[in-house]
């Protein structure tokens, strides 16, 4: 017999399980039957209580662990920014770590919050400065309850002030720029890592003093209200009836009313799936998987709701699909537009027949589509991790100052600790492969730990032909070749281009992970190695 089949034949239900479930089913009380839809949830909550209690008993310093487990949702930064100091992965899948830069290691404690300015990596006109924050008592920085879910990516300091040699620079000016972003994954509820990026076009940072003042740590969250959803997940809801075929979805621009682009209109159905204890008259009349629009192949999950009353209509327009792991909402709504025949165009959150249509697209969910690159199919597997909930976020204040105070840091940019800048004239010919027409002579390469710049000349081309030259986004990213053979991508963040009337081009890349320039051997662009040492 086939080995594979033979082994599966051996997987049997342990003795007694079948009998046990038959007896259990027959003896189920009516309340147990009602609860079955939320069976898992309740049982897991009970287990959580036991585990949390055990943790408190086992450890006198169990607060941190308990915070992690006590959260209804997984603490996760669903819009994590790039951590430039973090370990990177090169083009061949090897990990590499940046260990250069200037250590600062200053910690200030105000209002239960320790803020540490840990490290800086700077070249002459730009710098990344690494900050970490943590609560003194191990309490959570984020709020994560049945009704509130902090948005980790939006946690920040309310006010930031940066001075170079005592002179304040502006965050968004022609010759200066700075911003701070949360860069950790928020898996540790009492800690956060932030990165401040500073750019000063006219000021050379070498040897200068930098003052950074951070004021009031601010939290922002989603606020929800339970609707008494009757199913354990959207997948269970989807199993309550036959799903609509794709023929039942109309492209939204083909129908009488004008609709917001990006979703299809789902025909009225004959189902009556009552889904909410709070809105018992409301029901779902149709549901199914279909792509967003005609040009799209990847599917979303759609439902249309018959509200049952005018009062319900208002409330049910605020329904959202919610990821039960992260707590984040994910909903698109089909909006219809009506004109009064004059100049006013009214947007309605209901369809002309009074139904409400919403769709769930996991392409926008970082848990299923990390980095949000391209679209993906929404599947039954995905929607088994979603529920329906009322989003109160637009009715109440959803941000406040969690820790009040000012954390002010002063330090000098140590010229000896600044990363070596490579600035080298070269003469290397490469052929861009987008059109495969243009030969480029690389004339000059500037490389710091933060960025790479290339100046080049286009050969064999009249100026009018520049129209066919690839735009900046189409230019391939070079690799930085380290002496140990590691090939690090310069990333996709490219800027620059060409000037009409001239045959020169200039491109720059902000590196996704910092590199130690003393260990760099070459760059590689369109397959050609350009040696820098």
């Amino acid at each position: 017999m086939k080995k594979f089949l033979y082994e599966f034949d051996n997987v049997k239900t342990p003795e007694g399980w079948a009998e046990e479930i038959i007896i259990k089913a027959e003896n189920m009380t009516s309340s147990e039957k009602r609860k079955l839809a939320i069976f898992n949830k309740k049982k897991i909550s009970l287990k959580l209580v036991v585990i949390i209690a055990a943790l408190f008993v086992l450890s006198s310093t169990s607060i941190f662990a308990a915070y992690k487990l006590n959260a209804k949702y997984k603490n996760e930064n669903t819009a994590q920014s790039l951590n430039h100091f973090d370990t990177g992965v090169d083009a061949d899948g090897n990990a590499y770590t940046y260990d250069g830069g200037q250590k600062i290691d200053q910690t200030l404690a105000v209002d239960n919050l320790d803020v540490t300015c840990a490290k800086m990596s700077a070249d002459s006109h730009s710098a990344y400065i690494q900050f970490s924050v943590s609560t003194k008592d191990g309490s959570s920085l984020v709020e994560n309850s049945d009704t509130k879910v902090s948005i980790a990516a939006r946690q920040k300091f309310e006010n930031i002030n940066v001075k170079i040699d005592g002179v304040e620079i502006l965050p968004r000016a022609v010759d200066s720029y700075y911003h701070i972003q949360r860069v950790d994954d928020a898996s540790q509820p009492d800690k956060a890592e932030l990165e401040l990026y500073i750019e000063t076009e006219k000021i050379d940072l070498t040897g200068k003093s930098i003052s950074v003042s951070l004021e009031n740590y601010q939290d922002e969250w989603y606020e929800y209200q339970d609707i008494g959803f009757r199913y354990s997940s959207i997948a269970e809801l989807a199993m309550q009836g036959t799903l609509a075929s794709e023929d039942e979805f109309l492209p939204s621009d083909k129908i009488k009313y004008s609709f917001d682009a990006g979703m299809r209109l789902l025909n009225a159905g004959t189902k009556k799936i009552y889904f909410s204890d709070k809105y018992p008259e409301a029901y779902i009349d149709n549901m199914g998987f279909a792509p967003r629009d005609l040009s799209d192949k990847d599917k979303c999950f759609y439902i249309t709701i018959v509200p049952g009353s005018e009062e319900n209509t208002k409330a049910l327009q605020k329904l959202v699909f919610q990821n039960m792991t992260t707590g984040m909402p994910n909903t698109q709504k089909l909006m219809s537009q009506k004109s009064d025949g004059q100049k006013w165009v009214m947007s309605e959150e209901t369809l002309p027949d009074g139904r409400i249509e919403i769709a769930l697209d996991v392409s926008a969910d970082d848990m299923y589509n990390p980095g949000g690159r391209g679209n993906i199919d929404t599947t039954m597997e995905n929607i088994s991790n979603y529920t329906l909930i009322y989003n109160k976020s637009y009715e109440v204040e959803t941000k406040n100052i969690r820790y009040t105070g000012k954390w002010a840091f002063d330090f000098n940019v140590n010229a000896n600790k600044m990363d070596t800048e490579i600035s080298k004239d070269v003469d290397s010919k490469v052929t861009e492969t987008k059109t495969n027409l243009h030969t480029i002579t690389v004339n000059h390469v500037d490389l710091t730990s933060l960025q790479l710049k290339i100046n080049a000349t286009i050969l064999n081309m009249d100026t009018w032909e520049f129209e066919s030259f690839p735009v900046a986004g189409e230019i391939s990213s070079p690799y930085i070749i380290m002496k140990d053979g590691t090939r690090i991508s310069a990333g996709i963040k490219v800027e620059g281009g060409y000037q009409k009337g001239e045959k020169t081009v200039a491109y720059g890349w902000m590196l996704p992970s910092l590199v130690d320039t003393t260990k760099v051997e070459a760059i590689e662009w369109y397959g050609v190695r350009i040696y820098l040492q």
Binding site: F4, N10, V11, E26, A238, M380
Partner: protein, 178 residues
């Protein structure tokens, strides 16, 4: 008032008890494939059959009952899987699980168990390989059960088979599947 007596529910010629006995191993296998420990397997197993007991679905055939149970089992396991703490608390390894459910690690000639290797595949490949090769569903039927596009299913199947073959250096294709 017409009160339904759940005990007398007919599942296409089977009583509830008979349906549990008949499809018990099928549900167990799905749960073993998708859960990380015995406790979860049992939780999912019980939930699936309790839902069968309460279901108001009109089954058209016994195949329909079986497909419905497989579908519910997959979603029950996903429900457990998504819980944050489940992802962080591993109660027993897959190998232990296989031993509990009748698969002893290694055969007489000390070669690795194929099932063990199947269990090491990513979840989406595990279930399609099981449904295709063991339950002998057609690709369009599996697509229906899993509610995914048939072409997506076919590519998952091809990829799963490829990974499996690469991991099964010592076995020929025929020995495993044919």
């Amino acid at each position: 008032m017409n009160i339904r007596n759940d005990n007398e529910r007919d599942f296409v010629g089977l009583t509830y008890d008979q349906a549990v006995i008949k499809y018990s191993d099928t549900v167990t296998r799905i749960c073993v494939l998708r859960c990380g420990n015995e406790e979860d397997v049992k939780d999912c197993y019980q939930n699936v059959f309790l839902k069968l007991y309460l279901s108001k679905v009109t089954f058209e055939s016994r195949e329909h009952v079986k497909a419905w149970l497989i579908q519910v089992a997959i979603h029950e396991c996903s429900d457990l899987h998504r819980q944050y703490w489940k992802k962080n608390v591993v109660l027993s390894s897959d190998n232990t699980l296989l031993e509990i459910f009748g698969i002893v690690k290694g055969t007489e000639d000390n070669s690795d168990s194929v099932l063990e290797i199947v269990m090491s595949l990513p979840m989406k490949y595990r279930q399609v390989i099981y449904l295709y090769y063991y339950e002998e569903y057609k690709t369009n039927e599996i697509a229906q059960i899993l509610k995914i596009n048939e072409s997506t299913l076919k590519s998952q199947l091809a990829r799963g088979r490829k990974i499996l073959k690469s991991k099964l250096g010592g076995f020929s294709n025929e020995e495993i599947f044919i």
